[in-house]
C-alpha cells in the first residue's frame, strides 16, 4: 500500500496541484444516518467537503437521509443531476452504491467504510482495530482502578472490531486490566442518543471504570460529557474530539474520513481518481490517536513512549493487531 504518501501528502498537494481535468467536477456527499453534525464520521466527511471547497472554490452538494431506503434514491438523484464524484460514508450505503454504480458506469463513486469491487467505485476502509489498540494502551495506563469502559452504538461487527482492538491494546499495556463493554441499543437510535450514552457512562463509572471509550456516533458525546461531569477520562472517536472537554479527554481515535473525502474530490478534479479498494491503517495515516494542546497534560512521558512504541511495532509488522471481522472472533 503506497497510500501513506498519498494521504499524508494530500494537504500539501491540495494547494499545489492544478492539472487539466477531463470533465467538470461537481462533488456530492452523502452522510450516514447520524447526519452531518454527528461529531463523528459524517461530520468528518462534512469537514472534508468544506476543506475541498476552501481549497478549490468549487461548491459541493450534500444530503442527510432520514431512512436507509433513501440511499438509492439519493444516489440516483445525484447521478441524474450530473454529480461526479459522489462520496458516501457508512457501510449501510454499500448496497445502494453497488446498485447505482452498476447502472451508471460513467459516474465515479467513493464509498468510505465499505468494500465494493466495481470499475467505477473507490472503496476505502480503515483499520479501526489499530487505532483502537493505541487508545486501549493509553486507557489502560491512565486508569487508576484497572477498569476501563467501552460504549458501542449497536452490537454490530464493525463496533466489535473497535472493541476488540481496544481490548488488545489494554492487555498489551496491562495484562490484569478489566474491560467493561456496553452497547447503546438495538435500533439506529443507538447512534443518535447522547442521553443514553451519558447514562451508560455513569453506570460504568459506578462500577469502577475511570476511562471510557465511546464508539457510538453522536451517542458518544453524552458519554464524553458524563466523563467531564464526573471528572473521569474519556476517549473520542472518528473525529478529533479532544477539544470538547479539555482536561478529561484522554485522546481520540481519529479516522481520517475528512482526508479521504477531500481527496476523492480533489483526485477527480486533477484527473487522478482511480477505482479500487484501500484499507488504511496506522501505516497509511488513515487512523491514529490524537495528541494536541487539549490533552498534552494528560499524557505522561511513559504513556507517550509506550504508545509510540506500539505504533512503531504495528507499522513495522512486529506487532499484529487481530481484526475481529477477519474471523468473527476476538480472542481476548
Amino acid at each position: 500500500m503506497k497510500a501513506t504518501a498519498r494521504i499524508v501528502g494530500t494537504l500539501v498537494a491540495l494547494a499545489a496541484l492544478t492539472g487539466a481535468s477531463p470533465r467538470p467536477v461537481a462533488p456530492a456527499y452523502v452522510y450516514s444516518m447520524g447526519g452531518k453534525f454527528d461529531r463523528s464520521f459524517s461530520q468528518a466527511l462534512y469537514e472534508g467537503a468544506e476543506a475541498f471547497k476552501r481549497q478549490t472554490g468549487i461548491p459541493y452538494v450534500d444530503f442527510e437521509i432520514s431512512n436507509e431506503t433513501q440511499f438509492e434514491q439519493v444516489y440516483r438523484r445525484f447521478v441524474s443531476r450530473g454529480r461526479d464524484p459522489i462520496i458516501g460514508v457508512g457501510f449501510s450505503q454499500t448496497d445502494a452504491v453497488k446498485r447505482i454504480a452498476k447502472k451508471f458506469p460513467n459516474t465515479r463513486f467513493t464509498l468510505i467504510d465499505g468494500n465494493i469491487d466495481l470499475p467505477n467505485v473507490m472503496s476505502v476502509e480503515f483499520r479501526e482495530e489499530e487505532g483502537s489498540f493505541l487508545v486501549g494502551v493509553l486507557a489502560a495506563m491512565a486508569s487508576k482502578t484497572g477498569k476501563i469502559g467501552f460504549i458501542g452504538g449497536m452490537d454490530i461487527p464493525l463496533i466489535r472490531r473497535f472493541a476488540c482492538g481496544y481490548a488488545q491494546g489494554m492487555k498489551y499495556a496491562d495484562s490484569k486490566a478489566v474491560l467493561i463493554q456496553n452497547m447503546a441499543g438495538t435500533t439506529p437510535d443507538a447512534w443518535t442518543n447522547p442521553a443514553r450514552g451519558g447514562e451508560i457512562a455513569q453506570q460504568q463509572f459506578d462500577r469502577g471504570v475511570d476511562v471510557v471509550y465511546a464508539a457510538a456516533g453522536s451517542t458518544g458525546s453524552g458519554a464524553l460529557q458524563a466523563a467531564a461531569d464526573r471528572g473521569k477520562l474519556a476517549i473520542g472517536v472518528d473525529s478529533n474530539q479532544n477539544y470538547m472537554h479539555p482536561g478529561t479527554m484522554l485522546t481520540s481515535m481519529v479516522k481520517r474520513v475528512d482526508l479521504v473525502g477531500a481527496k476523492a474530490a480533489m483526485d477527480a478534479k486533477n484527473g487522478g481518481w482511480k477505482p479500487g479498494h484501500a484499507v488504511l491503517g496506522l501505516k497509511d495515516g488513515g487512523v491514529d490517536w490524537a495528541y494536541d494542546q487539549y490533552n498534552k497534560a494528560l499524557i505522561t512521558p511513559a504513556m507517550k513512549a509506550k504508545v509510540d512504541q506500539a505504533k512503531a511495532d504495528i507499522i513495522s509488522g512486529k506487532l499484529k493487531v487481530h481484526d475481529y471481522q477477519s474471523d468473527g472472533r476476538c480472542g481476548v
Binding site: E64, S66, T69, I156, P157, T187
Partner: protein, 373 residues
C-alpha cells in the same frame, strides 16, 4: 353540537381542508426560515408525483403505510391500540427472509414467494399474539406490551443478524443475497414489458397485495359475524359479552390479524426491495400506520388515501430537502407532523365551521326556494 353532514363533506371535504390547513401552517414555517413556501409545495408535489419514478417511490412508500394502517385499524376496531406494528413488521420480514433463505435453492418462485408471504404473516401474527395473550388473559395493557415488543423485536433482529444470519465475510450485518427467483416482480418491469415506458422504482407486486388486503379486511370486518363481534367489542365491550361473544378470543384473533398485516411490510421490503435480510427496514412504518389509520378513519378506503398522502409526504419530503438545502430533514419531519396533527388530533377542529356553513347555505337555499315558489 353533533350535527350530521352529508358523507361527501364528512369524509371528503373536511379531510381535504385539514390537509390544506396543515400545509398553510407548514408554509409559515418554511417562510420563517426564509424560503419560498410556494416553491416548496411545488417541489414536494412534483417530487412525489411529477414523473413515473417519483410516483413509483410514492406508491412504494404508500404500500408500507397501507399495511401498517390496516394493521392498526383492525386492532382498533376491537378497541385495541396496537402500537407494535414496527416490531411485527420486523418479524414479518424475518419470517419472509428465513423462508427464502431456506428455500431459494429449490428455484421455483411459485413455491418460494407464497411460502415467504405466509411466513411473514405467521411471524407477524405470532409476535402480536404474545401481547394479545397477555392482555386477554393477564390484563397487561396492550399499549405497554406492544411498544416493549418493538424493542424486543429489534434486539432479536440484531442478535440474529450479527450472530446467526450474517453472510460470512460481510462488513454489514446483512444476510447473503437471495436468489433472483425469490424477488417480487417490479411493477416498472411489468409496465415496460407491456410497452409503457416507466422509470425504475422499488414499487413491486406488494402494492397489489396491499390492495387485496384492503378488500379482505373490508369484507372481514363488515361482512362476517366475526367482524360484527369485532366492531361490537371495539365500541362496547360489555355489549359484546351480552351478545355472547368471547372477548378473549376476539382480542387474540384481532391482534394476530393485525400482526400479520404489519408483517407484510416485511414482504414489501425484504422480498420486494432489499432481497436480503438486514436491520431496520421497518423503521417508522409501524408508528406511521397509527396516523394513517386515524386519518383513514379505520376504513380500508380511507387508509388507502391516507397511505397515499403519507407516501407523497415521504417521497415529496425527500425531494424537497434535495431541491431546497435550507429545508433540512428535520423540517420535513415537522411538516409531516403538522399534517398528522391537523388531520388526526385536530380533525374535528374545522368541523363546526363546516356544520355552520352547511346549515347556513341550506337555510339560504330553502329561503330562496320558498321565495321563488
Amino acid at each position: 353540537m353533533n350535527q350530521s353532514l352529508p358523507r361527501w363533506v364528512d369524509i371528503g371535504l373536511i379531510p381535504l381542508a385539514n390537509v390544506l390547513l396543515a400545509f398553510c401552517a407548514a408554509g409559515l414555517i418554511v417562510l420563517a426560515i426564509g424560503a419560498d413556501p410556494f416553491a416548496a409545495v411545488k417541489f414536494m408535489l412534483a417530487g412525489a408525483l411529477g414523473n413515473s419514478e417519483a410516483i413509483g417511490y410514492t406508491l412504494y412508500y404508500a404500500t408500507n403505510y397501507i399495511f401498517t394502517g390496516l394493521a392498526v385499524a383492525v386492532a382498533f376496531h376491537a378497541g385495541l391500540f396496537n402500537i407494535g406494528g414496527e416490531g411485527q413488521a420486523t418479524l414479518g420480514g424475518l419470517g419472509a427472509g428465513l423462508a427464502v433463505l431456506a428455500l431459494d435453492h429449490t428455484g421455483s418462485a411459485l413455491v418460494i414467494v407464497p411460502t415467504a408471504i405466509l411466513a411473514a404473516a405467521i411471524f407477524g401474527a405470532a409476535w402480536a399474539a404474545i401481547p394479545a395473550y397477555l392482555q386477554a388473559y393477564r390484563g397487561s395493557h396492550i399499549v405497554i406490551t406492544t411498544i416493549m415488543f418493538n424493542f424486543l423485536a429489534s434486539a432479536l433482529m440484531v442478535y440474529l443478524m450479527v450472530n446467526v444470519l450474517m453472510a460470512p465475510g460481510a462488513v454489514a450485518p446483512e444476510s447473503r443475497d437471495f436468489a433472483d427467483t425469490a424477488a417480487l416482480p417490479l411493477i416498472s418491469d411489468w409496465l415496460n414489458a407491456l410497452g409503457f415506458h416507466v422509470m425504475e422504482s422499488p414499487l413491486n407486486l406488494s402494492l397489489v397485495f396491499a390492495l387485496v388486503a384492503c378488500a379482505l379486511v373490508w369484507f372481514l370486518v363488515w361482512h362476517t359475524p366475526w367482524g360484527y363481534e369485532l366492531r361490537l367489542m371495539g365500541f362496547n365491550a360489555t355489549a359484546a359479552l351480552y351478545a355472547g361473544a368471547n372477548p378473549r378470543r376476539i382480542i387474540l384473533l384481532a391482534m394476530m390479524l393485525s400482526g400479520a398485516l404489519a408483517g407484510f411490510v416485511g414482504v414489501n421490503e425484504i422480498l420486494g426491495v432489499h432481497h436480503r435480510l438486514l436491520l431496520d427496514f421497518a423503521l417508522g412504518y409501524g408508528f406511521g400506520g397509527i396516523a394513517v389509520a386515524l386519518m383513514g378513519r379505520n376504513h380500508p378506503v380511507g387508509i388507502v388515501f391516507a397511505g397515499l398522502l403519507f407516501g407523497v409526504l415521504q417521497q415529496g419530503g425527500t425531494e424537497l430537502t434535495f431541491e431546497m438545502p435550507q429545508v433540512t430533514r428535520e423540517m420535513v419531519v415537522a411538516i409531516q407532523g403538522l399534517v398528522i396533527l391537523f388531520s388526526g388530533a385536530l380533525a374535528l377542529m374545522s368541523r363546526p365551521w363546516f356544520e355552520w356553513s352547511y346549515w347556513f347555505v341550506g337555510r339560504k337555499l330553502a329561503v330562496r326556494k320558498a321565495a321563488s315558489a
